[in-house]
């Protein structure tokens, strides 16, 4: 029985790519593409891992991250942030808010797989 991951991302092709990679690795992948409703989805799914894009329609990935860390049930869930904006400022901010991993697009598929495995099985 594989672990579950929720991917919050708005770019359809990227959703497709990541879903493909993680499914092949044995994950159960749920996707969501709206920032405003993301937290509710996360509550319902209670995943083992969250992959969160920074630039989302509605609430931004960083805002959702701080919600997660303030949420009793989700606070301990590992979060991996994805961003296309290559600024160190964003990275620092994300780590400050409690992200476990921060990954800049584009990334290699192998990189993603290593990262998610580490986050769930330390």
């Amino acid at each position: 029985m594989g672990k579950t991951v929720v991917l919050v991302e708005d770019e359809p092709n990227i959703i497709e790519a990541i879903s493909f990679i993680l499914s092949r690795d044995g994950w159960t992948v749920h996707t969501h593409s709206n920032g405003d409703t993301a937290l509710a989805v996360l509550e319902t799914r209670a995943p083992d891992l969250i992959v969160l894009d920074v630039m989302l329609p509605g609430r931004s990935g960083l805002e959702i991250l701080s919600d997660i860390r303030a949420h009793t049930a989700l606070a301990q869930t590992p979060v991996m942030m994805l961003t296309a904006r290559g600024q160190t400022k964003d990275r620092e901010r994300a780590l400050e808010l409690g992200a476990n991993r921060y990954m800049t697009k584009p990334f290699s598929n192998a990189e993603v797989l290593v990262a998610v495995r580490e986050l769930v099985d330390p």
Binding site: E11, N13, A17, P57, A84, G86, P106
Partner: protein, 891 residues
């Protein structure tokens, strides 16, 4: 007795008639302007000889007989002033002319802000100080009469009793002469050519008389120069010890009095016609003094040896020729003494009456008649009348003093009382001339202190014990306060009473003047006058400036006529009017004219009164803002400096503001650049992420279905196209923004361009386009491809973003005045007000639709339209999203 007295009376009458004649002729000549000889420096110098009064003529011999060479101090003082202080005199004369000064009271009050209280005080002091002096002249004339009358100098005491009547008649005669010649007319310049001429003649007479007596004494009685010198050598006069303190005090006193005696001020400053006369007088007047003092000692020594011991040495000059039977010489000598006395009384009376009339009578009269200076008849007559009564009053006061003092005191002693009295003006005068920091309050304080001490230590005691002050007060002080004893103030015993009085009065006077000046603050007018008088050589014209906005020229003329006479006033006004280019008698009341008028009036009624009168008419006699600015150079400098500072600080704050704005702009630009780079990064990385992910999947993943392979390859292809388009847009925008693009302008038809754009937009058929082609038949001359690019963008946007169930786009072309507008209106929800402001910015992609486009489309449209000389704007309130493209119409 009666015989000689009758002859004497006849001689006096004849002499008086001669003086009248001289004065009359001089006056007429002056009036006709043919009086160049009147302006000679010789006349000026001779007129200064009124310094030598009967006191000098008779008293010097007495002085020498009693105190040895000390009498010389009275000549040394003025000589030193004349020679060493010519620069003070020059300044006095310059100020006197520049400010039209009529008297010493006028000068000092003028200097200290035209203060009338100061003028009143000085006038009172001058009257008090001069009264003993006039008494002295009366006494000397009376004595000389009595010498003749008694036919023997031994009987002077008895003769004195019968001569009180003589003194009265002499006083009256002098008063009449002065009234006749001193107030014949109200001269604008306050110059009395007739009087000056008469006293110049008298100066000659007294010099000749004294020299004649001297020559007679030396060569007629003394047996030649040698024996007389030997006699002097052996006499007590040569052995008389010189008391240094008395010498210093007397020299200082006579020097001070030379400047401050009202009559000296009158001839020295007021009657001065030409500043250059001072240069001549600087050596001529001391020479005159030398000559007149030449035979004093021989006369005293010889007189003592040939006359009985009881003879009054004050009358040796007269007694010696009488006793020797030289009646002619005696008459000449009498005339010399008479000349000395009369010239002094005449000039002193004129000077004092000017002061009394200008500073006391006229202000009171003006106040009593209130603002009615215009209504109350001929002011000129009032002035003349007050002058005349003042003259009579001054001379009579002298007579009263003469009666009260009993005529007993030695001539020299009375003279010194006067000197010390008027010397009190010196600190205020010199301070006023040279010290800008001197203030009115300081001058008032100094004068009051000096005056009180002088009165207490000198004037009152001069009446003798038990006359004005009781012997007890003199000996023990008032209420037994020894510190206040009149002749030993503050316990200084043993000083000569004269030295004592001069020392205390002048030093405390000066101290009060300086201290109060330092602690008090001058009014603006004081500062203005101070600046003008102290710096008289810098700006020799002036006076406080009037602002004559509401002045009535006619009122001014009425007033001026009453003061300086109708002819004079009309001439003045007509000249002023023609100088302003006006016809008739009424000039504009400009500040210049008002100042000129004030100066003219000041010649008749004094500066303070003239100022007050002009002020009454002009209104707002107070100092104007302009005056305040003109007050002092330093004030102007301070203002200049501060305005420079202000300008500088304004400049600084402007620069600072500019810098701040530039900084804000730079910061904003920097933010925009960061945001732009961040956006670019995002736009580039997103497609690259997909490309990389799927290419890796294709490469690495085993067992992919053909279907998936095709799908992922298509994604890679689509994302590559997206990347390419983004790069194209970026390059396009960059080129447009830098202005590097060249437009391909050609003629065309709007309808054709729209057709092309609709076709190129690649519509899927979901969006219906509504056009009215007949209205689109408009010729245009522009870059047709670029315009088409704009249209494609707008149509594609509508296609992508219109959220209506049945989306449609209305394209409306209108030919307007000088331009063509093409509106693109869809039936969606439109764009929110906040977003409307940013849609033309780069990467301002709205909402959550990210499927295509990099958010650069509208930015490019805006740039293109700008290049084409047109505009693109959002058109609010149209239901859906609405854009208007406008371009200039082709000719």
């Amino acid at each position: 007795m009666s015989n000689s007295l009758n002859i004497l009376a006849a001689v006096c009458a004849g002499y008086a008639a001669l003086l009248f004649l001289v004065a009359f002729v001089a006056e007429r000549a002056a009036k006709r302007g043919r009086a160049r000889w009147l302006n000679s420096p010789i006349i000026y110098t001779l007129s200064l000889s009124i310094y030598c009064t009967a006191w000098t003529f008779y008293g010097a011999v007495g002085f020498a007989a009693r105190s040895g060479l000390e009498y010389l101090t009275i000549y040394i003082g003025p000589t030193l002033v004349m020679v060493g202080w010519w620069w003070v005199l020059r300044k006095l004369v310059r100020v006197g002319r520049a400010q039209r000064i009529t008297s010493i009271a006028d000068l000092i009050s003028n200097r200290f802000g035209k203060s009338n209280s100061l003028a009143v005080l000085i006038t009172l002091m001058a009257v008090a100080g001069t009264t003993p002096y006039i008494a002295l002249q009366l006494q000397s004339v009376t004595l000389s009469f009595s010498v003749f009358a008694a036919a023997g100098p031994q009987d002077t005491a008895r003769a004195l009793d019968s001569s009180e009547a003589t003194a009265f008649w002499v006083a009256l005669g002098l008063a009449l002469f002065t009234v006749l010649f001193g107030t014949r007319n109200l001269d604008v310049n306050e110059r009395h050519h007739g009087v000056v001429m008469a006293i110049a003649l008298e100066a000659v007479v007294k010099l000749i008389a004294l020299l004649a007596v001297g020559v007679f004494v030396v060569w007629g009685l003394g047996g030649g120069l040698g024996p007389v010198l030997a006699k002097i050598e052996s006499s007590s006069i040569s052995q008389w010890e010189i008391a240094p303190s008395r010498w210093v005090a007397l020299i200082a006193l006579s020097g001070a009095a030379f400047l401050t005696l009202p009559r000296m001020f009158q001839v020295l400053v007021v009657e001065n016609d030409d500043e250059r006369h001072l240069r001549f007088a600087a050596w001529a007047f001391p020479s005159y003094l030398l000559l007149i003092s030449l035979f004093i000692v021989p006369i005293a020594v010889v007189g003592r040896s040939v006359l009985p011991a009881a003879t009054n040495p004050d009358l040796y000059v007269l007694s010696i020729p009488l006793m020797s039977g030289e009646t002619g010489l005696a008459f000449l000598s009498f005339l010399g003494g008479f000349s000395s006395a009369t010239s002094m009384v005449i000039v002193a009376a004129i000077a004092l009456s000017t002061m009394v009339s200008n500073h006391i009578v006229m202000p009171i009269w003006l106040r009593l008649t209130g603002g009615g200076a215009l209504m109350a008849g001929d002011l000129r007559n009032v002035v003349l009348l007050s002058r005349r009564f003042s003259i009579i009053g001054v001379v009579l006061l002298g007579y009263v003093y003469y009666r009260l003092s009993g005529g007993g005191a030695a001539l020299a002693a009375i003279g010194l009382v006067s000197f010390a009295g008027v010397a009190q003006f010196l600190p205020a005068l010199l301070g006023g001339l040279f010290w800008r920091g001197a203030t009115r309050n300081g001058a008032l304080a100094g004068l009051l202190v000096g005056f009180v001490i002088w009165g207490w230590t000198m004037f009152l005691p001069s009446f003798g014990p038990d006359a004005a002050l009781s012997a007890a007060v003199l000996a023990q002080g008032p209420w037994g306060l020894a510190a206040l004893r009149p002749e030993a103030l503050f316990g200084f015993v043993g000083l000569d009473p004269l030295v004592h009085a001069v020392f205390w009065s002048l030093s405390l006077n000066s101290m009060a003047f300086i201290v109060v000046s330092l602690v008090s603050f001058p009014s603006p007018l004081e500062r203005l006058q101070g600046a003008q008088i102290v710096d008289v050589f810098k700006h020799s014209s002036g006076g406080q400036r009037w602002r004559g906005g509401m002045a009535q020229s006619e009122d001014l003329l009425l007033m001026a006529q009453r003061i300086i006479g109708a002819t004079q006033a009309q001439k003045l006004f007509r000249n002023a009017a023609s100088a302003q280019g006006l016809e008739g008698y009424l000039p504009e009341p400009t500040p210049e004219f008002l100042n000129q008028l004030e100066r003219e009036l000041a010649g008749s009624v004094g500066a303070a009164t003239a100022h007050a009168m002009v002020g009454q008419i002009v209104g707002g006699a107070a100092v104007s803002v302009d005056d305040l600015i003109a007050v002092a150079d330093e004030a102007a400098q301070i203002m200049e400096y501060s305005s420079q500072l202000e300008a500088k600080s304004e400049e600084l704050s402007r620069t600072a503001r500019q810098l701040r704005e530039a900084n804000e702009k730079l910061t904003e630009l920097s933010h925009q650049k960061d945001a732009f780079l961040s956006q670019i990064s995002h736009e580039l990385r997103t497609p690259m992420t997909s490309i990389r992910a799927f290419s890796e999947i294709l490469r690495d993943a085993q067992g992919l279905s053909r279907e998936d392979q095709g799908k992922y390859s298509s994604i890679i292809n689509a994302e590559s196209v997206r990347l390419t388009r983004l790069l194209d847009d970026l390059l396009d925008l960059s080129v447009l923004e830098n202005g590097q693009v060249s437009m391909n302008i050609e003629a065309g038809n709007l309808c054709d361009v729209l057709d092309r754009a609709v076709a190129a937009a690649g519509l899927s058929g979901r969006l219906s386009i509504m056009r009215r082609r007949e209205r689109e038949q408009l010729p245009i001359t522009t870059d047709l491809d670029r315009l088409s690019q704009v249209f494609i963008n707008l149509i594609a946007n509508a296609h992508k973003y219109c959220d209506a169930p049945a989306p449609e786009l209305k394209i409306v072309a209108r030919a307007r005045e000088g331009r063509i507008t093409i509106d693109f209106i869809d039936n969606g929800l439109g764009i929110s007000r906040d977003d409307q402001r940013v849609i033309f910015e780069k990467f301002s992609r709205l909402g959550d639709d990210r499927e295509s486009g990099a958010g650069l489309g509208l930015s490019i449209c805006r740039e293109v339209m700008q290049r084409l000389g047109g505009t693109i704007s959002y058109l609010p309130g149209q239901g859906g999203a609405a854009f208007r493209v406008a371009l200039a119409r082709a000719n």
